[in-house]
């Protein structure tokens, strides 16, 4: 699956935290989700995204990079922050 971020009305970073306003809805991003948002200006395969996130954050504890990335991507899709390739 490939995903891409949805253009936000605004993106705010304060004290290391990120907030997005997308389609009139405010969404608070975790550090991982903020990195995903940053890496998805263009369409990108989730597998590639997982590799890039592992390179940046290291391997997650108690999970695989692919599972952790997949979980975060699912949440971001659910909140309308990302869209997936049809």
């Amino acid at each position: 699956m490939r995903v891409q971020r949805v253009p936000a009305d605004d993106l705010l970073v304060r004290d290391g935290e990120t907030a997005l306003l997308v389609d009139g809805m405010a969404v608070r991003l975790s550090e991982l989700s903020a990195a995903i948002y940053d890496l998805t200006e263009d369409m990108v395969e989730v597998e590639r995204l997982a590799r890039e996130l592992e390179a940046h954050f290291g391997a997650p504890e108690g999970s695989t990079s692919m599972d952790a990335t997949g979980h975060a991507v699912t949440e971001l899709l659910r909140h309308g922050v990302l869209r997936s390739d049809p």
Binding site: D10, D15, A19, L20, G24, A26, R28
Partner: protein
């Protein structure tokens, strides 16, 4: 040659109803930085116009200059045929006026679902953000005895922190008919008038918990926590330029934002008065 018509000019005395129609059924209001004309229509238009003039006394405008941004006037109709439905129509007209004004300021003002009062001399203002039905009106009624009443519903804030007052009637739920609110004039309740230039001095988030008893709990919120507490109570936020930045800047400038948990408005009246006095 000058000729003067001798044809009689027919005159007649208007009926009571026609006379009442000669009295304007149009209310010219100035609120939330906009002008708004409300045209009362229907068989009982005169009853509605009379009642609205009383309840909207703080917002009546002579059409002159003053604190208003866009020069175009907003319009809406309020219809009353059956005078027995006056209270309901007053309530729904208040809601419609609020919606119209908010739409009229979308993209201009940062608008919070909040009440506000202002120090009568300095203009320093306390903004209390809360969802509907959680005590904004009750608190406005109490604090408005000491500070200038700005609104019990919507606070419109310009990018320099100036508040555009919306001193609407206070919408008070009837104990015996909770679906119905009476629209009470701030003048009738003896609330102090808004000062000339109210500015945001402090923002709090109200969290009413009837189980809390007499104790009051306060918590300082980080900017991000405050933003997410307040963002749910904004109107037309995404119409603004860089909306989250504008909101965060306001929260920082007036911070720290406090979350205040309480059961009854009377328990926090003195605390909030002291909070505002400290910023004046």
């Amino acid at each position: 040659m000058l000729t003067i018509s001798t044809m009689p000019i027919r005159t007649r005395t208007p009926s009571t109803r026609e006379t009442s129609n000669l009295v304007s059924h149009i209310l010219r209001l100035r609120a939330l930085g906009r002008r708004l004309e409300v045209r009362c229509i229907g068989d009982s238009a005169d009853v509605l116009a009379f009642a609205m003039r009383a309840s909207w006394s703080r917002c009546l405008s002579d059409g002159g200059g003053g604190d208003c941004g866009p020069s175009d006037t907003l319009h809406l109709d309020a219809h009353l045929d059956d005078s027995g439905r006056l209270a309901y129509q007053l309530m729904s007209t208040t809601q419609e006026i609020t919606r119209t004004l908010i739409a009229g300021q979308a993209g201009r003002l940062l608008m919070l679902h909040a009440g506000a009062v202002s120090h009568p001399e300095t203009g320093a203002s306390l903004v209390y953000v809360a969802p509907g039905g959680t005590g904004k009106t009750t608190l406005s009624r109490l604090l408005g005895q000491r500070f200038g009443y700005l609104t019990d519903e919507t606070v419109g804030i310009a990018d320099d922190g100036a508040i555009h007052p919306y001193p609407k009637p206070l919408s008070v739920r009837r104990p015996d008919a909770p679906h119905l609110k009476d629209e009470l004039s701030p003048d009738g309740l003896g609330l102090l008038p808004a000062p000339i230039a109210p500015q945001v001095a402090r923002i709090i988030v109200l969290d009413r918990d009837p189980e809390l008893g007499a104790s009051v709990e306060t918590e300082e919120l980080s900017v991000m926590d405050a933003l997410f507490a307040v963002v749910e109570e904004t109107s037309s936020l995404s119409w603004l330029d860089r909306p989250l930045h504008r909101l965060a800047d306001l929260l920082e400038a007036s911070g720290p934002v406090l979350r205040v948990r309480y059961a009854e408005a009377s328990e926090i009246e003195d605390y909030l008065s002291a909070l505002l006095a400290g910023r004046s």
